[in-house]
Symmetry: C2
Subunit: 184 residues, 2 copies
DNA sequence: TCCTACATGTAAGGCGTTACATGATTTA
DNA sequence: TAAATCATGTAACGCCTTACATGTAGGA
């Protein structure tokens, strides 16, 4: 159950509400993990009962009241021992690549069109990551943000992935064009 | 439900048993999809009932009897209309990168050690892909294998991904070393 | 003799998505 | 006036993993 550990990791950095945690997944972790609030709230409940985290009710005017969670020493232990275990080979699911695998069932024109769409989608994602980079890490790994080095590493991995995806789309399209030339 | 479409895709290429299909996921599609036999057998059953595929009992000596499935015209329609829909942004889950995100909870020595382990794991995966490439696509996209072009594209994506992962590991380790030098 | 390949199934339980449900305040 | 933000929850259903279950033939 890695979501539990992801929540412990985020709470090891700062106290947060379920709402905050949900947003962190959306905004800065989407290329390697994600979870909706309907999964997060019940899990926080359960983790609190198991003594991994604790919360405090905070009453607010103007805004709804909230529950602010923090990690307990026991939670920290659980996090660290999880980090030390070498991860098993992660099994990706990429519906987009899965479709490409079966593109022989479409016309060549159509597949080129779909590959162009993919390239544009990757470009848009890349632009988003670059904005994050410019905002939070303006001078790269040397940016003086405490605790931010590994967050920067994972963002870099996202950027490299998107760049590589774009190169792959271009290469695939060029291969299809070559094939067309040969057969005509 | 993409597994259904993955099965249709594989059956659009050749008749197969549940066992064959299970092996194809393991051997050549693991970097973008996976499924175990306990998921595949009941789903084939259901798809047969819905008229997407049909099967024939084949009695064998020496080996257990088997059910050979083939795709129906209706299955082919379902496959093609799925292919035409632009995929929604795929949401990856990469436990390995998730751990990296929280490495600040470990010592710097330890994180370097773990990153080296990752690099070696990616190298091993890459070696496996390269063997597949040498076996099935010895002269690249021009290899005269009918229907094999898109299978080659997806394999190339796997190779590029692993190469990029290795570069990222090296880069991360070098960043950590620099930081150590600065602070000492 | 033990392991691997071939071959097909079921069952329990956990994980994850989508939809339902509420409601005040701020911004466009 | 409509939408977004803040904020927390529940329920139904489907997907997926792990384990249980069985049996033959061939190779090391």
């Amino acid at each position: 159950m890695s979501l539990k550990h992801a929540l412990l990791g985020l709470l090891s950095e700062r106290e947060s509400t379920g709402y905050d945690l949900t947003k962190m997944f959306e905004l800065s972790m989407s290329h390697y993990w994600h979870a909706g609030h309907s999964q997060i709230y019940p899990l926080l409940d359960q983790m609190e009962k198991n003594g991994l985290i604790a919360f405090e009710h905070v009453v607010q005017k103007d805004k709804p009241n909230k529950k602010v969670y923090r990690i307990t020493p026991r939670g920290r232990e659980t996090l660290v021992s999880w980090l030390k275990v070498p991860p098993t080979l992660s099994r990706y699911k990429d519906e987009s690549l899965l479709k490409v695998r079966f593109f022989q069932n479409l016309s060549e024109e159509h597949t080129i069109e779909l590959l162009r769409d993919r390239r544009r989608a990757h470009q848009a994602t890349l632009d988003g990551y670059r904005k994050l980079e410019a905002t939070y890490f303006p001078v790269g790994p040397a940016t003086p943000v405490r605790r931010g080095l590994f967050a920067y590493f994972t963002l870099r991995r996202g950027i490299m992935f998107e760049e590589e995806s774009i190169r792959w789309c271009r290469w695939s399209i060029s291969q299809l064009r070559k094939k067309k030339t040969r057969s005509s």
